[in-house]
Symmetry: C2
Subunit: 195 residues, 2 copies
DNA sequence: CGAAAATAATAAATATTGTTCATAATTAAA
DNA sequence: TTTAATTATGAACAATATTTATTATTTTCG
């Protein structure tokens, strides 16, 4: 029956919504079965009627955050001029999303994904998100003759690692002390890679 | 009394040793008060006579791992020729240590340090370890005229971020699938930065 | 040496976790 | 309306970190 599917999906949504709010607000360590269920308006046991376990629920959140992030970037860079400038803007928007929700960054890159059941699926989703977002622009630059295919591949990798590294340092609240310094650092790194 | 200090330090050492073994072998998730105390040959409650809490113990482990890592790098690069080559070798040895003990890398960069009490102290220790290890060589290159002070600072930063990023990807078992590919990637990135 | 005092080790207890299961409540079917 | 299926839930279980009161040990000193 279709109704069943709709209703089930709706209730799953309540749990997911509650978990997402907690993840964004307080981070993974504050997400417990009891608290999520409370916020969703159900008993903790009910959660297990809709999700295999807590990781299953969190995995759904990861997927939604990933989509949110992608959407966020696309909206913010809609008008950017194609090529290197657009890549820079994509990266800035990408970083901006994680800066707005540090808990999501922690969930994506820091907190052990090892526990999340479908490792390959989740990791693939997360680890290639920046690549996917920039892919068109890299192709554009190669087609344009601005970069060779090898140069593009090399820069793509460098960008991926550098941005992740920068975020790891900043989100752990150490490296650049202020947001101002952080954006300056980011700009510098982007110029270094893309010219 | 001095005897007291020595004995206390000795028993603390048993707990630290047990925790270190667990961290290296199985990672943070497998480290529990009960298991550590068991391995140390004491009751779990005894641990609290020597450490404020579990984080306090783990912080001690972090300090020891940090020292171990430093020592490991220094031994491995003792004979390297000064300058860029030595920086490359330092980075390789540094990465090599974490590759040998993935649990330690996770502890350092991935698992939420937020819980570790003395955030600033711990983070400073960890986040500047690579910088400190390479510092002499950067100075050498500047004194040598091979690099300007600004170039050195910029490359130092880039190196720090890139290496962290590469490790985050590799240790989460996704990016390069094999160790062979990983070292190749590392070499490429090092050449890109240091020429 | 032996009693008193200080120190150290521990078991029991508390408060959280995630997860399972039998049962109660609700909804759908006949 | 009675029966059957589904859904929600509280109780229970195992494992977690930590605290507290009590026991065991060691040190001190008369």
């Amino acid at each position: 029956m279709d109704k069943k599917q709709i209703q089930e999906q709706r209730i799953k949504g309540y749990f997911i919504q509650a978990a997402k709010e907690l993840l964004k607000g307080e981070g993974l360590k504050r997400v417990s079965v009891r608290i999520v269920a409370d916020r969703a308006g159900y008993s903790y046991a009910t959660l297990y009627n809709y999700f295999k376990d807590l990781n299953d629920l969190i995995f759904e959140c990861v997927k939604e955050f990933q989509a949110e992030c992608e959407e966020h970037v696309k909206v913010k860079t809609k008008k950017s001029p194609e090529g290197k400038q657009k890549i820079k803007d994509i990266v800035k928007a990408y970083v901006g999303y994680f800066n707005e929700y540090p808990g999501v960054f922690g969930l994506f890159f820091l907190e052990r994904m090892g526990d999340l059941c479908a490792k390959k699926e989740t990791s693939g989703l997360i680890y290639h998100s920046l690549d996917t977002l920039c892919d068109e622009q890299w192709k554009y630059l190669v087609g344009n003759g601005e970069l060779t295919a090898e140069e593009a591949e090399s820069k793509k990798q460098l960008l991926r690692f550098t941005i992740t590294g920068v975020l790891v340092f900043y989100e752990n609240r150490l490296q650049p002390g202020t947001y101002k310094e952080f954006t300056k650092l980011l700009d510098a790194q982007l110029s270094g890679i893309l010219g």
